[in-house]
Amino acid sequence: MRPFAYERAEDPAEAAALVAERPDAAFLAGGTNLVDLMKLGVAGPGTLVDVRRLGYDRVEHRDDGGVLIGATVKNSELAGDPGIRRRFPALSRAILAGASGQLRSAATTAGNLLQRTRCVYFQDVTKPCNKREPGSGCPAIGGSHRDLAVLGTSDHCVATYPGDMAVALAALDALVHVRGLDGEARALPLEDLYVLPGDTPHRETVLERGDLITGVELPAAPAGAAMHYRKVRDRWSYAFALVSVAAVLRTAGDGTIDEVRLALGGVAPRPWRARTAESELIGKLPTPENVQAAMGAELAGARPLPDNAFKLDLATDLVGAVLRDLTEPEEDR
């Protein structure tokens, strides 16, 4: 491993300044992904700036039903927070569907948002990867890509965003709070945090050097809505999603859909908010045929590869199953 410096920032301004003045510096929170990448030689920061003591470690529930989640709240704390479990059960479920108990006890909210793809080529420095080494090529397209993306990809990169928590956050209309290098705070929708690969797959978010995520804000969940997160993977624990779905659903008395929000995981370079499918479903019953049609429209622009084409129908079937289960009483599930 390469030598690196470790600095512990005591306030946000210091953290931003430390990173801004050192081009090879990186923020360190839980380190559950970054440290692995350092061991693999994928990341080689000269300085790690520890941001765990900046006071962004609380879950603040507001009277209006919304919540502000601090950037360094541990995944395990967030998943177990009684207010989160009551008001945003899909978020709690999504977090618990990821990683292991040990990792969740170290990983943080912001770190989880910024985790990198687990594409095997990105993680293997002996092989080309446009994301790691721009212009070197993408062997995944003709090679191992079963786990990779079918939506939002480019000829340069087919990597998948691997997380679970962010998929639930996308369905919950999360806002990401960012503190700029100049100290100015701004907020952006979670979906806008991520940049699709295009011909610059090494650029994954809109964050600029010195930008620090300080928290994630969730507006109140729609009154009377039910929500769920379901993940399909190759084993029943400790595996990344092949496809996952976070859904928020409110139906009218006749069973038709009043409001629906759908986010897909495991299929795109970012948590994929399925807005086309959502609008197609409004006013309709969540029948298999209607879901099929809505998801058909959503996935029309998909670019599947031979070994991951199965994800398209799987995503459709999973959305159908989740919406069906959300409209049936708990005991029938």
Partner: protein, 713 residues
């Protein structure tokens, strides 16, 4: 001497080394603190075939902490054309001949190594070594119809690559009911908890290696021979080993790297591979493609079996698994042809992994038998019973014991097989499709010559020494039980020392031969010691020691067909919406002779069945043809069963009294638990959804095509 009333063997004794392991007192190969230690980190080839043209180590040597860079130019010359007594030890030599040539045979091969004062410095230095290659086109893809695949004279279990009785192809063509199906299994890795690691130290021309090793004595043979030393000049210490599953049953490159690096810098050197390195340097189960043809009469009697398998090996070593061997004796068909072919590719060398050959081979055979049962409309247990042979169908030899039928019957009763609706996709529970499956298991019961020493101390204690290795199996505990009974004393008065080559000739913990072979020598030594004590009229103050060797006893065994048999049962459920598969329960019933310790035996079998679950549904090292290696090489992307995947896994041992095996009357149980497990699960998946998936692992996308039509409620 007091007489004990309770025998230790047969009792569920807790591990004698359990406390040392869980408290960290047990020392593993990487944990021996020698003075002046250095650390080596390999530089691995980034091409799959070609030649190393240049190695620039200047940048590495300039790094702080770097002592030396081991290259073909400064490495000790080894006796690479050495001859060894056992073919499987000879097979280890090409991969152990590190840096003796500049030719590159596979991606990931060691082409240099950096030796430094710390692990971190060595690793960092390795990244700074510049290697220039002359690259050649490589071929790393296994195909069934590749005409460069050939039938080897002898496969891994010493049997011929091709065996035919009767006229199988003709008999198949004439059979009224025929199954003709091709199955495949992927490359699989052992990924033991403890990575391959070694600490090597030279003292003049004497070499000591603390090695993560399944067979310290056997390992000393190729290593001493390669260095041109006598076996007695090489000590291998393997007191504790954190799993091996076959991958540590012969010394692998990291062991030799430690020895060569220590030779170069004249100080002790440690090597421990990380997980990605392990995927190319520690062997793996070869992928297989197997075509099974079963011809049967309408009453289920098998008329013909043709089992053809093709598998891969590296260009360095001809390693061919015995994937068709169990087919030669499991069923009483008159006309049988079994053919194993091997294709030498530009890939890392494969090797043993729990039940080599039999795990993939029986998966294919027992899937085909299930297909035949479906075709015949016959219960798959009854079909197997109908084809039960009276004697070994291949050799005509009598079975020393064989209770496959008993295992199937007992399993059927315990599992609740009776009343099973054989129709596929007939059982629905909410969103789940539920199915059950069965498969037979077989693994040969071999015994190899071993030595042991037994010593009586004047204080009433005993020390028994045998060159065994306990890789987590419980061997140390079981050998203590065997010794205590043979000496007729309580367990507490016996200490069993294992894990050193210098103790003497002893086979490895591999091929399910360990306990049977070591125990025989231990019993013999203990018996001789009691005789000696009697002769002396007691134990003299300086103690009394005797030695035993079972070479003649093993050689005198009658020609018989010896093997363990079992029946595997599985119940699975498939989510009709998504295709997610869950194994609700597994039951294995085994007839494996006398059980010496029900606790550790159960642990062995349940572990192996769980490995079979992984084999059926998860494990695949994905070939990366463009580069010639495996695309996935860590435990995040190479999946084995997690706790959440393992629900109800149970095993039962049938009583079996076999006087024709060895002194303890036991058959090895290290491997048989995985044999047939994947087939039982695959057969259950077929029963659940009506679709036969013939390529392992069975994953979501494989079962989904069946689900569309099954979704209507």
């Amino acid at each position: 001497m007091s007489t004990t009333t309770q025998r230790a063997t047969g009792a569920p004794i807790v591990r004698v080394d359990g406390r040392a392991k869980v408290t960290g007192a047990a020392q593993y190969a990487y944990e021996y603190p020698l003075e002046n230690m250095a650390y080596a980190w390999p530089v691995q080839s980034t091409i799959a075939k070609g030649r190393v043209e240049s190695i620039d180590d200047s940048a590495a040597l300039a790094r702080p902490g770097v002592i030396a860079v081991l290259t073909p130019d400064n490495v000790a010359r080894l006796q690479v054309d050495v001859e060894l007594p056992l073919p499987f030890l000879a097979a280890a030599v090409p991969d152990l001949s590190l840096l003796q040539s500049r030719e590159v045979a596979f991606r990931g091969q060691i082409v240099a190594a950096v030796i430094a004062t710390s692990l971190e410095a060595a690793r960092e230095g390795a990244g700074a070594v510049e290697v220039g290659y002359e690259e050649q086109a490589h071929d790393a893809v296994l195909r069934f119809d590749d005409d460069r695949a050939y039938v080897p004279g002898v496969v891994n279990d010493f049997s011929p690559g091709n065996v035919e009785r009767g006229e199988a192809d003709r008999a198949f063509a004439e059979a009224p009911v025929r199954i003709d199906a091709t199955y495949s299994t992927p490359a699989e890795h052992a990924v033991p908890m403890e990575p391959h690691s070694a600490t090597a130290a030279w003292d003049g021309d004497r070499l000591t290696i603390y090695n993560s090793d399944q067979g310290p004595f056997y390992s000393s043979l190729p290593i001493s021979a390669l260095f041109g030393l006598d076996p007695g000049q090489v000590e291998i210490v393997a007191e504790y080993v954190g799993g091996g599953f076959g991958s540590k049953a012969a010394p692998r490159p990291p062991t030799m790297l430690a020895a060569l690096a220590a030779r170069l810098v004249d100080r002790p050197v440690k090597v421990a591979l990380n997980r990605p390195q392990s995927f190319s340097l520690t062997t793996y189960r070869t992928p297989t493609i197997q075509r099974l043809r079963l011809g049967a009469e309408r009453d289920g009697r098998l008329a013909a079996i043709v089992h053809e398998s093709v598998q891969q090996s590296s260009t360095l070593v001809e390693y061919t698994e015995q994937s068709v061997s169990s087919t030669r004796l499991l069923y009483a068909a008159p006309d049988v042809r079994t053919t194993a072919r091997v294709r030498r590719l530009d890939v890392p060398t494969p090797g043993w992994l729990r039940a080599p050959g039999d795990a993939p081979g029986v998966y294919a055979l027992e899937s085909a038998v299930d297909e035949l049962a479906v075709e015949l409309g016959m219960d798959p247990i009854e079909l197997r019973v109908r084809n039960e042979p009276d004697a070994d169908p291949e050799t005509g030899q009598p079975f020393s014991s064989r209770n496959l039928v008993g295992a199937l019957r007992e399993g059927a009763a315990r599992f609740g097989w009776e009343g099973r609706d054989p129709a596929p996709a007939s059982r629905r529970e909410g969103n789940w499709l539920v199915g059950t499956g069965v498969a037979a298991a077989h693994y040969p019961a071999l015994v190899f010559p071993s030595t042991a020493q037994a010593r009586a101390e004047a204080d009433g204690g005993f020390v028994v020494r045998v060159g065994a290795a306990d890789i987590g199996t419980g061997a140390r505990t079981v050998l203590t039980q065997v010794a205590a009974d043979a000496l007729d004393v309580p367990l507490e008065r016996v200490r069993v020392d294992i894990g050193r080559a210098s103790i003497g000739v002893a086979p490895f913990a591999g091929g399910s031969i360990g306990t049977a072979s070591w125990s025989w020598a231990v019993e013999k030594a203990c018996g001789a010691l009691l005789d000696a004590v009697q002769e002396h009229g007691g134990v003299p103050p300086e103690g009394l020691e005797v030695q035993a060797d079972t070479t003649e006893d093993v050689g005198a065994l009658a020609e018989m067909s010896r093997g363990g048999y079992g029946a595997q049962f599985a119940e699975v459920r498939v989510d009709v919406d998504t295709g997610q598969i869950r194994v609700d329960r597994m039951l294995g019933v085994f007839a494996t002779g006398r059980v010496l310790n029900p606790r550790t035996a159960r642990s062995q079998i349940v572990g192996a069945m769980t490995m079979g679950l992984s084999m059926a549904l998860m494990e695949i090292a994905e070939p990366d043809p463009e580069f010639g290696d495996f695309a996935n090489h860590d435990l995040a992307s190479y999946h084995v069963a997690s706790n959440a995947d393992v629900r109800d896994v149970d095993c039962v041992f049938l009583h079996e009294d076999d006087k024709n095996l060895n002194s303890i009357g036991g058959k090895g149980i290290g491997e048989i638990g995985i044999v047939g497990a994947a087939a039982a699960i695959a057969n259950a998946v077929h029963h659940a959804i009506g679709l036969r998936v013939r390529d392992l692992p069975i994953r979501i996308e494989d079962v989904r095509p069946a689900l569309q039509d099954l979704r209507v409620r």
